[in-house]
Amino acid sequence: MTETSRIRNFCIIAHIDHGKSTLADRLLELTHAVADRDMREQYLDKMDLERERGITIKAQAVRLTHQAGGQTYELNLIDTPGHVDFTYEVSRSLAACEGAVLLVDAAQGIEAQTLANFHLARDAGLVILPVLNKIDLPAADVEGTAAELAELVGCERDDVLAVSGKTGEGVTALLETVIAKVPPPEGSRSDPLRALIFDSSFDTYRGVIAYVRVKDGVLRTRAKLHAAAARMDWEAEEAGVFAPEAVPVAELGPGEVGYLVTGLKDVHQVKVGDTITSQGRDRAHEPLPGYREPKPMVWSGLFPAEGGDYGALRDALDRLKLNDAALVFEPETSGALGFGFRCGFLGLLHMDIVKERLEREFGLELIATAPNVEFHVVRGDETIVVHNPSEMPHAGTYDRVEEPMVLATIITPSDFLGAVLELCQGRRGEMVDMKYLSTTRVEVHYHLPLAEIIFDFFDQLKSKTRGYASLDYESWGYEASELVRVDVLLHGEPVDAFSSVVHRDKAASYGRAMVERLRELIPRQLFDVAIQASIGSRIVARETVKAKRKDVLAKCYGGDITRKRKLLEQQKKGKARLRRVGRVDVPQEAFIAALRVDQGERR
């Protein structure tokens, strides 16, 4: 156990691609945490998925030791997820720190995500160390970006450090600054135990692993523990630290960061943000502040592409849920897609990750409905929560519908300001304020419906600003809105999977677009197929897929008979992959293509 005076707990806040993982690699090397021969790039991003996407999903805490002024310091580097989907997780990681390195790419400048996490860190009372990265790049604008950063943090230009994660330049100075400026943790060994769970993961052999920061008291291996929010009693099978591989320790004292092997089999019993204390009379009276239940923001129906895989999908979701406390799902039966699950996600990235893991790790082929937000339908004193557009009641049966709003922060080069404002206005946005970060960069705040953001907003923003703008957002409550449900009918039968809730002003054009898209995707049948979009009983768009007239092999002689029979057998197999909606056969691919939201890389 280390004296609190020689402990520093800090994290690195950075926008995607601003070099956080590379800097972490240098810190590991410089503190000899990893032997040279074991070093690999992005050491801390363990999962394959993380490595490929270059992002960090799970927080990690690494203990580094560093000598300075004749003393040995214990530095706990707490890695935080950088994506807007995981704001709550970020806030819990920040709560485990006393300081934050605000890392900005000297060639890119401050981005929206940097800003959002900076505000979170400042609100959490952390000491902020502004650092420029990638100063070795020819395009680096060290002076300009340093000025921007000093202005944001409210410090002197000289307080802004400059490093290169790639070459290692300035990294030793950074470590020394962390020791000098980040305050040591407070907390007393003699107080009742209070430790914050800031993340968790699931290990097949050892059960749930909790990542903890001890605030008060001492957390010992074999201690009998109580989790306040989960109201669970369990025993610490093992306490340890990541250095960076797991190393068991006898105890974690105040201010220390490490892991706990809980032996529990369900990650839901170990909630991020929960407080761990002792059982019995040593129990702390007040849990640590800030806990909340994970709240899904985006919903989508997931269905097995091949009919029979429902059980496999359920098992896979159950397995994923073991180490993803934010994932929620409930069975859903779709007239068009059969048995599946309506799943709730923290955001689009979270949704993509879950879908990708289901497909990659469990080998499932999925059809996902277009993502939607949670609507509140108010009728008198009653509020109905709707997660599925096809369950949205029709207009006239309720008083109002409310939809979730966000406060979006967009940073863009001023050249593209017009395009950004136009995009936001077009998405029912209301500008809150706007300020120039420098003569060439603008920060804009907008109130936007979340529903407008989860479609192709981010892609549009990137394409309209040649990739330069960045976006972050936070929840901003619910507001009443003129929303209507648009249904799509095939040959007179509504197809639940295609229902959507959209703003009244956009409903007709949405319906038209959907109908036109489907007209291209639905193969000709033996009869004319009407494709219609309706709002209530009013048809707002209609297209027809004309009946197929010719499907016959022209020639069939001698040797051809074998080949023609095989063609027919192939055609038969193709038919087996069709889903029947009423009388209409719809290929799987049509569902996938019609429901796809082209988001490109969402980050």
Binding site: L526, K548, K550, C556, R565
Partner: protein, 366 residues
């Protein structure tokens, strides 16, 4: 059971862009060896077909008429020696208008080729060009006249519709020209794009448009109408004939009677076994010259395969399938929508049904 013999001649003057048959231009030097090999293969195969009555012989290709009349005659004489070819057997040879003249047509008739199947394809110069056929419409008229003059009394014309550049009006002209020549038999095929052909590749690359299936459907309707009015009976999806002139050999395929195929890539069928010769002419020659049966592969039809073929072929020749083969509720929607009709105790495709035959087969046999 009355069998047929098919003889494949893989030589062509040129290769047409749409054709995926086992046919080659520029292999003319192989012709003498090939004729000898055909004779040798027939001798090898004959024992197994001993006692099987052969009611039709069909020389197809490629272009069989690229062979000399004497060689063709030798082949036919040899077959008659080795097999129980009946005396009134139907003996057909495919002829390309450019490879026949009056003396050759006379020689063919005298040798016993009493049925002539002429690859006319179209009477529209632009359509012929788009099909990469080397002959013009006049060549067809001349060849037809020469055939009649030589005494040929059983001539079939092959037509293709739906090629790039063909309109309903030009197809109508082609049909009327064909009818005016008064052949005994007409085959009219919708142009089918095979991916492995130059045409297929051009379409896949977007360099040429794919045939429009709706236009082809209209063209089929027009063929049914005009040929019907001219007294031709529609007896298979793509075949029409004056009464009594239906092609016995081809009916053999569709009625699932046995057939022996001789020559490169030719298929044979007997007792639910189908086998085929190696395709490349050189390979075929080497095998036969070494005294081996030049077999390239075979399949044994499972009962389910055989059933699918039976249904599919019976529907093609408008014989239809017995009502008892199909659950009434399966057939009902097709009877209602007019794709099937009831004839005595059989379910028979209507004209519209013929165009959607694949759908019908899958629904009724699937």
């Amino acid at each position: 059971m009355s069998a047929g013999i098919y003889v494949h001649v893989p030589f062509c003057l040129t290769r047409c862009g749409y054709c995926d048959f086992n046919a080659y231009a520029g292999l003319d030097h192989l012709r003498p060896r090939y004729v000898r090999a055909l004779l040798a293969e027939a001798s090898l195969a004959a024992a197994a077909w001993d006692g099987e009555e052969v009611v039709s012989v069909f020389l197809g290709g490629g272009t069989p008429t690229t062979l000399d009349a004497a060689d063709l005659k030798a082949v036919l004489v040899h077959l008659r020696e080795r097999f129980a070819v009946t005396h009134d057997a139907e003996v057909t040879i495919e002829a390309n208008p450019d490879t026949v003249d009056a003396p050759k047509l006379t020689a063919l008739l005298e040798s016993g080729f009493e049925r002539l199947s002429m690859g006319a394809q179209s009477f529209d110069t632009a359509v012929l060009a788009s099909l990469e056929r080397v002959h013009g419409p006049d060549a067809v008229r001349r060849a037809m006249a020469a055939a009649r003059e030589a005494g040929h009394a059983n001539v079939s014309l092959d037509l293709i519709y739906g090629a790039q550049g063909e309109s309903l009006a030009s197809w109508e002209r082609t049909l009327r020209e064909a009818i005016a020549l008064a052949p005994e038999h007409v085959s009219a095929y919708a142009l089918t794009v095979e991916p492995s052909t130059p045409l297929g590749r051009q379409i896949a690359l977007g360099a040429r448009p794919a045939p429009d299936p709706d236009l082809q459907a209209d063209m089929f309707g027009l063929a049914c109408q005009l040929l019907g009015e001219a007294g031709y009976g529609h007896y298979e999806v793509s075949n029409w004939a004056r009464p009594g002139f239906e092609c016995r050999h081809n009916l053999g395929y569709w009625e699932r009677r046995p057939y022996l195929g001789l020559g490169a890539g030719a298929h044979s069928y007997r007792d639910d076994r189908r086998w085929w010769n190696v395709r490349p002419p050189e390979d075929y020659l080497r095998q036969v010259e070494a005294g081996r049966v030049p077999i390239g592969g075979e399949e044994r039809l499972e009962p389910s395969d055989a059933y699918l073929e039976e249904v599919f072929l019976r529907l093609r020749i408008l014989e239809g399938i017995p009502s008892s083969w199909v659950e009434p509720q399966t057939a009902a929607p097709f009877l209602e929508s007019g794709l099937l009709r009831r004839a005595d105790d059989a379910l028979v495709p209507t004209e519209r049904g013929m165009l959607l035959l694949n759908e019908l087969v899958l629904a009724l046999a699937g």
